[in-house]
């Protein structure tokens, strides 16, 4: 029984042809465009230069969401979160370099950064959830979670470029935990707790249009110029005076992975603050592009199935001529 190059070549050619078709189909040119900002999008602006690291927002968030203390020390007495987790939706972290003497400086300085859900315009978590447990509100853009639908596959935990969704591992009935911009408070006409309690207005709430305008205003300030900063929500009138810092031109969240509704302003480079350096096109744009190209309308699978049925029927005809006992 000679096994020859013919079979090899057949195998190679056949597989090559079949796979080349699929290759052409999955090229990145098929990526869908980024999703757009919803019409009544709301968001939060965090200004690292205004933040004094008091953690009122950490405590306020815990209270507003009924979260338990997050113990990380031997004595297990105090709520001491070291990062966001199943019991902590929002945390303030410290960047420190060298002697850490000067606030908002990169060398021998320190700065604060707030970490919680970015409420992306084109969220990975919403795109990957198989059962629509993660959803983005069509009006406000808030990314919310429904544990009653969730199957606990943790694909959202895996795919978030910012590492936001947190699964629970210490219970047989785990949920995903993340900041939902206090949508339960917003439903009552209140604002997110972190913005409500912030003493310096480092975290401030408002419609995205107002946030865009405020970012533009701060960008235009001269370093050292005395100006007012609003607390709680843009348009509240609750202001305090302070000299403007030297901001980085880059405002984080304007373009990253299609934009986010939680934006940062800072004097210290964002990568030093732990924010990843991301491209403008969202990741769901790529993966949904592939899926749609291959399976849109289930046309390609139907065609392939038809071919396979024909081939399988032909093969079984041969067997029918030789009925078994």
């Amino acid at each position: 029984m000679p096994v020859n190059r013919r079979d090899f070549l057949k195998g190679a050619a056949g597989s090559g042809a079949a796979l080349a078709t699929a290759a052409a189909a999955s090229s990145p040119a098929q990526a869908r465009p980024n999703k757009q900002m919803p019409p009544n999008a709301v968001g939060l602006l965090y200004d690292s230069t205004l933040c004094i690291g008091c953690k009122a927002c950490v405590a306020g968030c815990k209270e507003a969401n009924g979260l338990p203390p997050d113990f990380n020390t031997a004595d297990q007495l105090w709520d001491t979160p070291i990062d966001i987790g199943p019991k902590t939706y929002n945390v303030i972290k410290l960047y420190a370099d060298g002697t850490a003497d000067h606030k908002d400086e990169e060398q021998n300085g320190f700065a604060f950064v707030k970490k919680s859900c970015m409420h992306c315009v084109d969220p990975s978590c919403v795109s990957v959830c198989p059962v629509s447990a993660m959803t983005k509100d069509a009006q406000t853009g808030i990314v919310g979670y429904d544990p009653d639908i969730c199957i606990g596959c943790r694909y959202c935990v895996l795919s978030c470029p910012f590492g936001v969704p947190q699964a629970e591992y210490d219970t047989p009935t785990p949920k995903i935990k993340k900041c939902e911009m206090c949508r339960h408070r917003q439903a009552e006409g209140k604002i997110p707790a972190c913005a409500e309690v912030c003493p310096t207005g480092a975290t401030v709430f408002g419609p995205i249009t107002a946030i865009d305008a405020e970012i533009a205003r701060r960008r235009a300030l001269q370093p050292g110029q005395i100006t007012t900063f609003e607390r709680r929500t843009l348009g509240s009138g609750d202001v305090h005076e302070k000299a403007a810092p030297k901001y980085l031109e880059h405002v984080y969240g304007e373009k990253e992975v299609g934009g986010t509704q939680f934006r940062f302003m800072s004097s210290v480079d964002y990568e030093k603050l732990g924010m990843p350096n991301l491209r403008d096109r969202s990741y769901p744009a790529d993966s949904e592009g592939i899926q749609h190209t291959l399976y849109s309308g289930m046309i390609a699978p139907a065609v392939v199935f038809a071919g396979l049925v024909w081939a399988a029927k032909r093969a079984s005809h041969v067997e029918d001529e030789h009925p078994e006992e």
């Binding site: 029984m1 096994v3 090899f8 070549l9 057949k10 195998g11 190679a12 056949g14 597989s15 090559g16 796979l19 699929a22 999955s26 090229s27 990062d83 987790g85 990975s124 795109s127 990957v128 959830c129 198989p130 059962v131 544990p147 639908i149 969730c150 199957i151 606990g152 596959c153 943790r154 694909y155 935990v157 795919s159 470029p161 590492g163 969704p165 699964a167 591992y169 210490d170 047989p172 785990p174 949920k175 990741y283 790529d286 993966s287 592939i290 899926q291 399976y295 699978p301 392939v304 199935f305 396979l308 049925v309 081939a311 399988a312 029927k313 093969a315 079984s316 041969v318 030789h322 006992e325």
Partner: protein
């Protein structure tokens, strides 16, 4: 004319052996640990954390495990779609391994799901989120498990006299399920690769590419062929069963494996060149080492099977098949765990319990395979000569 369907026969022999007892014990340990997981939560048995929410249970049990279970898919493609009847004797054992591989892989998913009692939501139209790759994978895998058992059912039906009257009806519609049994794995084995596309920068450039579905599909089909070779040779040694009459087909499969591996390597390196990532092969530390090992394993059958002796002897077939399987497994392990950069500060390595569950599930597969081939007509006993067999197929 010879009728060859009834050449399938149960192997017979002792069910309780050293092997099956060890497998049973390992499986029992896994069952206990899984019960603990159900009562106390994933953290009580695994080292999963929010930096590594998917660990060895997903990477091995689901992704690698189902790739190992592509024997049925590969054999269906070549026997029924390409209509090469000569491979017929290899179909049922491959299907059996696939049945168990996929069923236990599916069970592994259920154990890994945090809120498994909601798993049926995948089937509810108002919850379906069709943009999600995982949605497609879940539906395809669920359906494929059903299809596999239907494809395998003739073996069960043959055994039990009470079911025999229904055999004809079954065989008349079987071709639809055979077609499904080729469509569904094509869809989900490629999509297991697409799962990683949305992770973007979190997957190292040596693995992250839009070609992921293609690379996963190519390697999965090849793993399907390789597992057939592996199980045939291993079975001949373990069950002390001659495979003399299957050697020619195994030799041809070796050629197919070679072909697929050449295509895979061309695609993989071509993709790296086009994306300008060739340099990363040498500058990525541990990941470089893993990549090089993967390629070496994938290249082994290409080189080895060029020699006729390797294709016609059991040793060569075994080594080539094992190398390809290890390469495919390592590729998936790397893509899901080693190439995954979740951010600084996170650590993950499976816990002892977590590993024992994986080992126990593998042991359960081996145990069930042994029990089924001994009690059901799975293996072919070659009452026809190959020439008679080929002649029968020509008609």
């Amino acid at each position: 004319m010879g009728n060859f369907h009834n050449e399938h026969e149960p192997l017979g022999g002792k069910l309780v052996t050293k092997t099956t007892v060890v497998c049973a014990i390992l499986a029992a340990i896994a069952a206990f640990l899984l019960a603990k997981r159900m009562v106390l939560g994933l953290g009580s048995v695994t080292n999963l954390n929010n930096g590594y929410p998917w660990g060895i249970w997903i990477a091995y049990d689901v992704v690698i495990g189902t790739a190992f279970a592509c024997g049925g898919y590969a054999m269906a493609l070549v026997t029924y779609i390409l209509n090469k009847g000569e491979y017929h004797p290899l179909v049922r054992p491959a299907l059996l391994a696939s049945c168990f591989g996929y069923t236990l892989g599916g069970a592994s998913i259920l154990f890994d799901l945090g809120r498994w009692w909601n798993a049926w939501h995948i089937l509810v139209p108002k919850y379906m989120q069709t943009n999600s790759v995982m949605f497609e994978v879940a539906l395809c895998v669920m359906s494929y498990i059903l299809v596999l058992w239907i494809e395998f059912s003739p073996a069960v039906v043959s055994k039990f006299a009470v079911l025999r009257p229904h055999k004809k009806k079954l065989e008349r519609i079987l071709f639809v399920f055979v077609a499904l049994g080729c469509l569904l794995p094509t869809m989900h084995q490629s999509s297991l690769g697409t799962l990683l596309v949305v992770l973007g920068y979190q997957i190292h450039p040596l693995w992250q590419t839009p070609l992921l579905p293609l690379l996963f599909l190519c390697s999965a089909i090849c793993m399907g062929f390789s597992i057939v070779v592996f199980e045939a040779v291993l079975g001949s040694a373990g069950f002390k069963r001659s495979i003399k009459h299957e050697m020619p087909q195994l030799g041809k499969i070796a050629r197919i494996v070679q072909g697929f591996m050449v295509v895979y390597l061309v695609l993989r390196f071509g993709d790296l060149i086009v994306r300008g990532e060739l340099g990363s092969i040498f500058t990525s530390g541990l990941r470089s080492l893993m990549f090089i090992i993967e390629i070496a394993l994938f290249a082994t059958p290409v080189v080895l099977f060029s020699r006729e002796r390797a294709r016609t002897g059991k040793r060569g077939l075994f080594i080539g098949a094992v190398a390809m399987l290890l390469g495919g497994a390592l590729y998936r392990l790397d893509a899901f765990l080693v190439a995954y950069d979740t951010g600084p500060g996170w650590h993950y390595f499976p816990s002892v319990s977590e590993l024992m569950v994986t080992f126990g599930i593998i042991a359960a597969e081996i145990l069930l395979y042994i029990v089924f081939v001994r009690t059901l007509p799975v293996f072919y006993t070659h009452k026809l000569t190959p020439a008679e067999l080929a002649a029968a197929h020509e008609k």
